[in-house]
Symmetry: C2
Subunit: 452 residues, 2 copies
């Protein structure tokens, strides 16, 4: 565990050259430390004020003209006395300023250490702190919304409220143990059972949202499968068409490494193994499931393409989709009938007919893909879990509570009941950090960038 009494310092803005860079220092004495290098006077400055002047190094050599933000203890992001230095964003100047501050007594901040301090000082709970990292990594509106909602409180308050109630009951049950010989019942069993039911229901809703949350966070994998010449490549081009430029604008999107991505209604979709489709490798692709299986295994959504201009092709694809549904019950399968203008068959309602070439019904297809993934959830309102650590803790909480539930039905003794509830509280508390260990914290915050 790092020493929380140190003054920590790091560059907070992205690496590179630009107009402005921000260097941030936090900890008791950080204002005075920076003040020693600054032409103005920061020690008398009020919190949340900006100060223009020059910064010198320890040899009294001018480094830059800077604008310094002062934050008093209790009023900053970390909760500690903090300083932010806006300087010209040349790598040279940033290095010189850091070096001067380190020489003056601060130390290099570890990855995520500013946010960890915010957590330590009660400015954020653990799931909120984790949301900061998710927020920065967000590439789509949907994943951004989930992270921001969590940063603003999200399920934390509700979980804390439920945990408080469980704590109350657990203490009552444990109190009974102290009076075991007198056979009293401080904790009303019916009330307790209702509470346990309520918590299980809420946790189940949250846990069920994880599949969607995780898919949104990482991008929802979509496979387009079908026989040669059904128009997979044309559909792909059509889907990518207008969104391509938008995706390319996002820094760090390396088209060579990740699959092609499209952003539909703010949700990011990853189209799996498009290289094969693009290279016209589809020509040598066999018709059956076997060859496509690898793609299907990786996907959440499978688009089965049928060529409506070929007689009985739809029937064949229908039975093929049925096979996929049987073998992979967790995949969302959609039959797409292409070449609708040349259709020989009558398509049933569950087939989405399009013309990839003419671009007909492509919007309807996109809408259906989003519906398949999001279901009846409201991405703007519902709380969605996207963190696997939270998901696992929720499942463990539920396991413990289910035991308690069964115990209440079968009438187990108070000591067993208390143990199950304590266990549930432990897992529930680990989500928000009411329960935490150094290992857990180190593991979470090491995934952050330096300066956050």
């Amino acid at each position: 565990m790092q020493n929380t009494a140190d003054i920590i310092c790091a560059i907070a803005t992205p690496n590179g050259t630009g107009a402005i860079a921000v260097i941030r220092a936090s900890g008791k004495g950080s204002i005075e430390l920076v003040d020693q290098l600054f032409s103005g006077n920061l020690t008398e400055a009020q919190s949340h004020t900006l100060h223009f002047g020059t910064l010198k190094n320890e040899r009294n050599e001018l480094i830059d003209e800077v604008l310094i933000s002062v934050f008093h203890e209790g009023k900053s992001f970390t909760g500690e006395e903090s300083v932010e230095i806006s300087c010209h964003a040349s790598p040279f100047i940033q290095k010189e300023i850091l070096s001067a501050i380190y020489k003056n007594g601060a130390r290099v901040a570890n990855a995520g250490e500013f946010t960890m301090r915010a957590f330590m000082n009660g400015k954020l709970d653990l799931s909120q702190a984790e949301a900061v990292s998710d927020l920065i990594a967000s590439e789509s509106k949907a994943s951004h919304n989930i992270a921001l909602k969590q940063l603003r409180g999200g399920f934390s308050n509700k979980l804390k409220e439920l945990r408080e109630k469980l704590i109350h009951f657990a203490s009552m049950v444990e109190l009974e143990l102290d009076f075991a010989e007198e056979d009293v019942e401080f904790a009303d069993r019916t009330e307790l059972k209702n509470l346990v039911d309520e918590v299980i229901a809420y946790i189940t809703t949250l846990a069920n949202s994880f599949e969607l949350g995780n898919a949104i966070k990482k991008g929802v994998p979509v496979a387009i499968v079908g026989a040669p010449n059904t128009g997979k490549s044309t559909l792909l081009n059509n889907l990518l068409g207008e969104d391509r430029a938008i995706v390319s604008n996002i820094a760090g999107t390396t088209r060579d490494v990740i699959e092609e991505t499209i952003n539909i209604e703010g949700v990011l979709f990853r189209l799996i193994d498009t290289a094969g489709i693009r290279d016209n490798a589809e020509e040598i692709e066999a018709l059956g499931i076997q060859r496509s299986k690898e793609k299907i295994v990786q996907s959440s959504v499978v688009l089965c393409m049928s060529d409506l201009s070929v007689e009985n092709d739809l029937a064949r694809v229908n039975s093929w989709a049925e096979e996929i549904r049987n073998e992979f019950p967790d995949k969302k399968v959609l039959i797409v009938g292409n070449k609708m203008d040349l259709s020989k068959d009558e398509a049933s309602e569950d087939v989405l007919v399009i013309s990839a070439k003419e671009g007909s019904n492509i919007d309807a297809l996109k809408k259906r893909i989003v519906e398949l993934v999001v279901g009846d959830r409201d991405l703007d309102q519902d709380i969605i879990v996207n963190n696997s650590r939270h998901y696992e803790a929720l499942l463990r909480t539920r396991d413990a509570l289910t035991k308690a539930q069964n115990g209440l039905v079968s009438g187990v003794t108070g000591d067993f009941l208390a143990m199950d509830i304590r266990q549930a509280m432990f897992h529930l508390g680990s989500i928000t950090g009411d329960i935490s260990t150094d290992d857990l914290l180190g593991n979470i915050f090491s995934k952050f960038c330096i300066g956050k």
Copy 2:
């Protein structure tokens, strides 16, 4: 010319992902514009204060938790009412915030437009504005110092003072023209001649510093030439040795494209055509000047390597260096005698003896290379011109003044004298922007990055 009444907005921090990004908006109404998207109240805020809250878009959707800096008119970098928004540095969030601000009535800032406005509003003169761009691009202490000195005023004040005096004399001389028939002399010719001499002397000193300033700005090109097996490759490795890591730390330094660079006493040196040396291509390199000529032409400093362990090699290299000095009088040539421990010849004082293999005298060599370039100038104190636009304006000013000087000696009439002085004032004024045209400004500021 851009409309200076618009509110302009851009990302000011480097591109990419990090903890914090800063988006800057400037122009009358910018505070109110951002206030409409912000949860707090900025319109009543004092200048130089920070405000925490949330930012929403025009559809009232939450974008991020932000910290907003407010600057009142006359108190900001641009001189205009301005706002800086510190947000989480995800590309998605930055794009969303920019988009919301543009939709609310701001427009995209052009490259350098914030600095151009600072110039327009008299917060910086033109040479100071240009120094901002140099400062951001600085990769070494020496180039950083020159830019920072210029940003802090540099020669601007002195040039302005001299220009004021010239203006005074020019008006006196022109006044004489109005009274031509009366043969009066308002402008004392001896005083005028003294002033012209003074300005010419000052300008000559500044112009002479340009060679050094330009070399420092771009990195001083150094050629290492010599016969095969004299130890060029060993010397190169030795020179690069400890500095390599430092150079690699600077973002944007692409070793494949630019030459190898070393930083000696804060001055950046570029070692020319080191690929040839590294690849042992020196083996096939001929002994004479012809093959090395291309390297020498590109360089400022030429290191002629002699192998002291070979009898009479030093004499040969001496006469070879003499040839180079005759053909390229502007190059600084230094004879380096390698393998000093195996020396067969007595080296004269102007030969710097080293052992590249043992690392002996390498520090002395580095010191001598810096001396060759810097001469007796004090990089920390002297004003050094590093901008070719300023250099050319200085030369033109001097040309016009030399004409005036000659005119004063030969006693030309007042109207010729006035014309020459006006011409000198024009060129002198173009450096600081007292004289400027839209073309000139457009040309200067288009080289800036967006957001500055």
